[in-house]
């Protein structure tokens, strides 16, 4: 029975192979990297600083998690120290920042048990996203692998969805991940136009009859919160105080022109210091107002269809340029379309599309880095390749805004050389091996 024997041997081989794979499958999530030890020097890369500047042949050094040098390599004679990475022909970018994200709050869109992004109730300022943030999300791995290293983890739903926090993507636990805890509160501005009827029997999209009432309800809530009755502790009121004293930002999610105008009125009525408009599809129509009131925009996903049949069919692609030309501070967002979490890995390409439609390349980078950091008020720590900031950056084989050339080969968060492996890369390897075995 030589045949049988042979077959068994083959089986054995497979089993051994399988056994070898098991650990990586079971422990698919990546191990957070060790603290930076020694100096890292990257030279020769085109460095996109994040503030609009670019250095063609750069020299970047970092130590203890902080950037210590960013300069033009041809203009310095400084010795290359520590781990030296030759990045000639490659590109270095500050870690991209994802605003208004639900990464780590939900895993599989269609499986309810994995969804933690939206609490019930209308006014939930006291709901805190950070405690539900899963540092081991398999989705986040794939995001990291394309250069997004920081995100504002944001709850969804209701009028006031809750309080967001900002994290970096290489951590054991949410506490380790934190860059800024409870940075802001998210308010969904009521829509002035919406579908009538209900979901089983939808009607036409018409003026929202309850719009005024809905807005008034929010105003009442803010008035109450501002009065802040201290006799009894109201968790919701308490959670709002940061908005009034300026320690937290109010993020108003609004897309329509009317809604944006009203949101800015609202800011002034309640004397809110830090307001950011999230969504902002129609913001290009009210740029003067936004500028006068110093309100930045976190612009919804631009890989989107126009919002009306007659609209310029490429309008979504042009929005970043339109807003930037008007002098508005803009960050790019992924939310505002289907599958926002898994789509986050395409955020660089939204910026790329904006460049195709006229936006300056380095400004597009800023919309993923320093602009976002400024809007989220973390720009003293992150957002650009500048001395003293966190060494949170990545190296791409080519232009990272173009899928043709985007290949992230290494990334650092606070100087730590993080793993870019993913569940998906492992399956790629596994099945490539399957076919090479034959």
């Amino acid at each position: 029975m030589p045949y049988m024997v042979k077959k068994r041997q083959n089986n054995m081989k497979n089993i051994i192979f399988l056994l070898l794979l098991i650990p990586t499958i079971i422990f698919a999530q990546q191990t957070p990297a060790k603290k930076q030890n020694g100096i890292v020097t990257i030279h020769g890369a085109t460095a996109h600083i994040g503030n609009g500047e670019v250095i063609e042949n750069s020299l970047i050094m970092f130590e203890n998690g902080k950037i210590t040098l960013v300069t033009d390599a041809t203009l310095t004679k400084k010795a290359y120290l520590g781990t030296i990475i030759n990045a000639e022909g490659k590109h270095v970018y500050p870690g991209f920042i994802v605003p208004n994200s639900t990464l780590g709050l939900a895993e599989i869109d269609a499986v309810k048990a994995t969804l933690d992004q939206g609490e019930i109730g209308r006014m939930n300022p006291h709901i805190r996203s950070i405690i539900a943030y899963n540092t081991e999300s398999k989705v986040t791995e794939t995001i990291k692998a394309n250069g997004m290293l920081i995100a504002q983890i944001t709850p969804r739903g209701g009028n006031i969805s809750g309080t967001s926090s900002i994290v970096q993507f290489d951590a054991w636990n949410y506490e380790d991940a934190l860059i800024k805890e409870d940075d802001g509160i998210h308010l969904n501005w009521p829509a002035s136009f919406r579908r009538s009827g209900w979901w089983a029997e939808p009607g036409p999209i018409v003026e929202n009859k309850n719009y005024v009432k809905d807005v008034q309800r929010i105003k009442d809530f803010f008035s109450d919160a501002k009065a802040n009755n201290k006799e009894t502790i109201d968790l919701k009121n308490k959670a709002m105080q940061g908005i009034f004293n300026g320690s937290q930002t109010l993020f108003i999610h609004a897309n329509g022109e009317k809604e944006i105008v009203e949101a800015i009125d609202f800011k002034n009525e309640f004397n809110i210091k830090n307001l950011v408009i999230v969504g902002g599809f129609d913001a290009y129509k009210v740029t003067n107002l936004l500028k006068e009131n110093n309100v930045p925009i976190i612009l919804k996903r631009i890989h989107a269809l126009p919002t009306a049949e007659d609209q310029d069919i490429k309008l979504p692609f042009k929005l970043p340029k339109l807003l930037d030309d008007a002098g508005i501070l803009v960050a790019l967002d992924v939310a505002g379309g289907r599958m926002e979490r898994m789509q986050t890995r395409n955020l660089p390409f939204y910026a790329g599309t904006a460049v195709a439609y006229g936006l300056d390349y380095e400004k597009a980078i800023a919309m993923l880095t320093l602009n976002t950091a400024k809007i989220l008020k973390i720009d003293t720590k992150v957002g650009s390749l500048e001395v003293g900031k966190d060494a949170t950056l990545f190296i791409s084989e080519g232009d990272t805004l173009d899928m043709r050339t985007n290949k992230v080969i290494s990334a650092y968060i606070q100087g730590r050389n993080i793993s870019l492996d993913t569940h998906q890369k492992q399956l790629y390897k596994k099945y490539t091996n399957k076919y090479s075995q034959k």
Binding site: E107, I108, D109, A110, V111, K138, V139, S192, F193, A200, E201, P204, I205, V206, E207, G256, E257, K258, H303, A304, L305, P306, A308, E309, D310, D312, I313, K314, G337, R338, M339, R341, M342, R345, N346, F349, G352, T353, V355, A356, L401, D402, M403, R404, N406, K407, Q424, K425, L427, Y428, Y431, T432, K434, Y435, K438
Partner: protein
């Protein structure tokens, strides 16, 4: 019982009751007198006006018309003194006297898969046995409303269900509560695409499902008509009524074309009920050669005073408001025969106003009259009885003051079957002009104006106006006013019978209650003449000035192809083109060629030559320097351009439905995709069922109709596996088989087993009952139709290949195929291609192992790989998706580009026509500003068969034109609002975006 009592009550008032009916409230008084109307202008037919003619009637019928007719002795003579007589109108699409059936009582979360009736057709929405006559009841209130508008006869049916049963034709004559007023208990058979509200049976859940159901029903009826027994009440009813006219509610131009196709297939004549947008596809509408029923429900202008709200209204909706009143003229000019209906008109009183509006825009009065009289009569096959005035017809006619469509016309009487219905008093003495009113010692000035039935008064004393209220009815004149002091509530009341328009006497009761008399005398007829002349002169003047200012001529905005934003006024045409000095991605063994001229001739790729070497004249030149030319993108999996439902979710096998039935040529996403370089899209059924529906394959020929867009003989069908087909996410247990992957296999094996038996029987010369599902599945077994199957996990992918092998055919394509990389070897062996997403995952459990390297792995294993969109947003940047094969898995650029061009062409069996730039293939090409895989690349020109359908420069001009047209229309609407016209609230146009799992219309 109630009916009987009513009947009994009415008999008493009959002058001409049926001779054999008993009379219990008196004695029988048979009336055999004639009535003649003399000195009338009689519109005998829409084209024949007889002046100064007499109409003789007796009982319910017309006896004679003419100038010199024999008038019997026992004739009542009515001198009409120059008034007009018209045949009264017919509404062929009415619901008069019928109640809407009751809605089913099932909750929104309850599913119903099967019919809950016994003995009828298997589908609750097929109700041809419905006999409207059995529930018909004369509706006094509605009859009055209709009579007022000039209608005398209606064809009325229950507007419910796909097969709706028969209608009743009745004259609006309630003096005859018997069999006289009913012209036909069964007037016509009625059909539509809309489900019945009486049942929640899920099937059909889409328009294409309704169409398939109708086809199956007609097939079944034909089959059973040849059998001795075995049919059901519904089929029997349909067959019994087959000699009646068929009226089909299509609503919407494209659905009229759809219904017309069904009619032609079964050799039936459908009278198509339209919706008022026929002008948008008038050529195709004309070519159906069908008769139509057209509503005249012109939309109200939108209230655009709030710019934020106005902004939400689509140009097509703004424009439709302007164009809709012109629909009738367009239909008439194209010789489309149609009847008018009051249906869809919310406020029936708008009927006359809208009709006059259409006439003002050029709709001829003759056709207007015909579409209300002779045409509906003819369509109902009742021309002998109604619709025109001739001996032997029913005495259904109108007496009017002026020609019927004159603005000043008044309908005096509407006679139905010889019974008089007074609409307005014909004998009223017209009062008009200036009068002097003398009461006691005071002399007032009274000015009377307006139609006699709506007389207005202006009362003055010493040139001071005094408020007054006038009533003038039955020649009784009465006026109330407060003569002295408006603070006091004391009035003078006048009342008097008018016998003479020049002098009216009557009694007056003064404010103190004292009774005296008044005299109203017309003053100075000479002066009146002068006034009249002045007035005429003024009118002339103002008309002239209006003309010279160029205002009164109403502007109708041009219809575009399609009639929405970005439509073209003229359909773009094929040209011979040379694209010069361009980099060509041939997708052939030549690879990527630089500095070439590509010549497109007669819609085909003619030649690729070295730049500058082609010297012929007469070619449009396009500079391709620093640009790239590729074959057009082909999207293997798209759901754009589909009307009313992408899924027929009513049953687990829906092979009988086809997207080819429901291609929507006016979807803006066609244009948006063109702008992304897409030239061909396969429009797939959704993934609700293991055996889905058949696919359509279209070229994105923006502006053409669905037939012109489609590839002929596209023989693909969508299958599906996994979570969607097993209803994993239906909110409540649907109880539809299958609920597991295990069940899915059995659906396939079961259906193919049935199909094989069916096919074997057919081939053996037996004639089984035609079953469209089995026909389609048999085509698969015979390798004449090909499967593209929505698929995710490897187990079920393997299973389907094995099922196919068991039945000796092969699966053509796995679409989505996210775990294809796990079984690429098996797929290769089976010979199936893969059309996948570049990088989607994490949206449901079964895509947990989806990886973006999938395409690359399958490609390396020798499988034909395509990337598809399944999404109207992604489909307009498929070039970027192709580049992801370079990023994930290092596929070469040249090969990656084929993922969205040549490879899908192969999967769709159209690579002999499209997919590469090769002499002889269709000239479907795209000129890109950059390397097409680059995110910085823009499609600048998209050409299909030598016709430029998208041009980036033209697009800019379009945008400008759109904003100008919007502005113009909004201003017109504001003007309407300012002039007091009622407006409707702004509303945002729906954009239906379908995905695999979208349900509903």
């Amino acid at each position: 019982m109630k009916r009987l009592i009513l009947l009994l009550l009415f008999i008493g008032f009959n002058s001409i009751a049926q001779e054999y009916f008993p009379k219990n409230n008196g004695i029988k008084t048979p009336n055999s007198n004639y009535t003649v109307f003399t000195n009338a202008n009689i519109q005998k037919t829409p084209n024949e006006l007889l002046k100064n003619t007499s109409l003789l009637i007796k009982g319910t019928k017309i006896i004679a018309i003419g100038t010199n007719i024999n008038i019997p002795k026992n004739t009542k003579i009515i001198d009409l003194n120059g008034l007009y007589i018209y045949s009264s109108f017919i509404d062929i699409y009415s619901d008069f006297g019928l109640k809407n059936p009751k809605k089913h009582t099932k909750k929104w979360f309850e599913y119903q898969w099967n019919s809950n009736r016994d003995g009828f057709y298997w589908n609750d929405h097929i109700r041809p046995e419905t006999n409207a006559y059995t529930t018909y009841d004369f509706d006094e209130k509605k009859a009055k409303e209709l009579l007022k508008l000039g209608f005398g006869t209606v064809n009325t049916h229950i507007h419910d269900g796909i097969a709706r049963g028969t209608s009743v034709i009745t004259v609006l004559n309630n003096s005859e509560k018997n069999n006289v007023s009913i012209l036909a208990q069964k007037g016509a058979q009625h059909f539509s695409f809309k489900k019945s509200i009486t049942s929640k049976q899920n099937y059909p859940s889409s328009l294409m499902g309704s169409m398939a159901l109708l086809r199956q029903f007609f097939n079944d009826a034909n089959w059973f008509s040849k059998q001795k027994n075995g049919s059901d009440i519904s089929i029997q009813a349909y067959l019994d009524n087959k000699n009646l006219p068929i009226i089909f509610e299509a609503n919407d131009k494209l659905s009229s074309l759809r219904a017309s196709k069904i009619a032609k297939q079964f050799n039936l004549d459908f009278i198509l009920k339209g919706s008022g947008n026929e002008f948008e596809r008038i050529e195709e509408i004309k070519n159906t050669n069908a008769s139509y029923i057209i509503p005249i429900n012109f939309p109200k202008p939108y209230d655009v005073s709030n710019p934020y709200a106005a902004d939400k209204i689509a140009l097509s909706d703004l424009r439709f408001w302007n164009q809709a009143p012109n629909n009738l003229t367009v239909l008439e000019k194209n010789n489309v025969e149609f009847a008018l209906t009051l249906a869809n008109l919310k406020d029936k009183k708008d009927f006359n106003k809208n009709l006059l509006k259409a006439i003002k825009l050029g709709f001829s009065k003759e056709t207007a009259l015909a579409s209300l009289t002779t045409i509906p009569a003819e369509l109902l096959r009742k021309s002998n009885e109604i619709g025109s005035l001739k001996a032997g017809s029913f005495a259904n006619f109108l007496i009017t003051s002026k020609p019927i469509f004159d603005k000043e016309n008044i309908i005096y009487e509407n006679w139905t079957q010889g019974s008089k219905n007074i609409i307005n008093d014909r004998n009223i003495i017209p009062l008009n002009g200036k009068y002097s009113l003398a009461i006691s010692d005071k002399f007032y000035d009274l000015k009377l104006s307006g139609k006699p039935i709506k007389l207005k008064a202006k009362l003055e004393l010493d040139s001071l106006e005094i408020k007054s209220k006038l009533t003038y009815k039955n020649n009784w004149f009465s006026l109330i006013f407060n003569p002295l002091d408006t603070t006091k509530t004391e009035f003078v009341r006048l009342t008097g019978k008018v016998n003479n328009a020049k002098k009216i006497k009557g009694k007056a009761i003064l404010e103190n209650g004292e009774e005296t008399s008044f005299i109203l005398s017309k003053i100075n007829s000479d002066k009146e003449e002068n006034d009249k002349n002045d007035k005429n002169k003024n009118q002339q003047k103002s008309a002239e000035s209006a003309r010279s200012a160029g205002e009164k001529e109403p502007k109708i905005f041009p219809t575009t192809y399609p009639n929405i934003a970005y439509g073209n006024k003229e359909k773009p045409t094929q040209e011979n083109i040379i694209i010069k000095n361009v980099t060509v991605w041939t997708n052939e063994k030549e690879g990527i060629l630089k500095n070439k001229d590509v010549i497109l001739k007669n819609g085909k790729i003619f030649k690729i030559v070295n730049a500058g070497t082609f010297k012929k004249q007469g070619f449009k030149e396009i500079d391709g320097t620093n640009k790239h030319l590729t074959a057009g993108i082909i999207d293997e999996h798209s759901h754009i351009a589909i009307s009313n439902g992408v899924n027929e979710g009513g049953q687990n096998n829906s092979a009988e439905v086809t997207i080819q039935d429901v291609v929507k040529s006016n979807d803006i996403n066609i244009y948006r995709d063109l702008a992304g370089g897409v030239t061909t899209s396969q429009l797939l059924h959704g993934s609700a069922n293991p055996i889905g529906g058949r696919a359509a394959l279209i070229k994105l020929k923006w502006g053409e109709n669905p037939d012109v867009m489609q590839y002929k003989n596209h023989k693909f069908i969508k299958f599906a596996l996994g979570e969607n087909v097993k209803h994993s996410r239906t909110p409540f247990n649907s109880r539809r088989f299958p609920q597991t992957r295990m069940g899915v296999e059995q659906v396939f094996v079961g259906n193919f087993t049935r199909a094989k038996e069916y096919d074997t029987a057919k081939k053996a010369g037996k004639k089984p009952r035609y079953n469209e599902e089995l026909e389609v599945l048999a085509e698969i077994l015979n390798k004449e139709r090909f499967i593209t199957c929505h698929s995710y996990v490897q187990s079920e992918i393997t299973m389907l290949m094995r099922v196919a092998e068991q039945f000796n055919f092969r699966i053509n394509t796995f679409t989505h195929i996210l775990e294809g990389y796990k079984v690429a070897d098996k797929m290769k062996k089976h010979g199936v291609g893969g059309s996948t997403f570049s990088d989607w995952w994490a949206y449901k459990f079964e895509v947990n192992d989806a990886i973006p390297y999938n395409g690359a792995i399958m490609h390396k294993q020798g499988i034909t790989v395509a990337f598809n969109s399944d999404d109207a947003e992604m489909s307009r940047r498929m070039n970027q998706e192709a580049a992801k094969a370079v990023k994930y898995g290092d596929v070469s650029e040249e090969e990656a580009w084929k993922f969205v061009t040549l490879n899908p062409a192969k999967l769709l069996h159209i690579d002999d026509r499209v997919g590469s730039i090769k002499t002889g293939k269709d000239a479907d090409v795209v000129l890109w500003s950059d390397n097409p895989l680059s995110i910085y690349a823009k499609a600048e020109k998209t050409i299909i068969e030598g016709t430029i359908y998208f041009d980036i420069d033209q697009d800019k001009l379009q945008q400008k034109a759109i904003s100008e047209e919007r502005n113009e229309l909004i201003n017109l609407m504001l003007a309407e609002k300012n002039s007091g016209v009622k407006t409707q609230k702004p509303k945002k146009k729906e954009e239906k975006l379908y995905h695999c799992d979208s349900e509903g219309w």
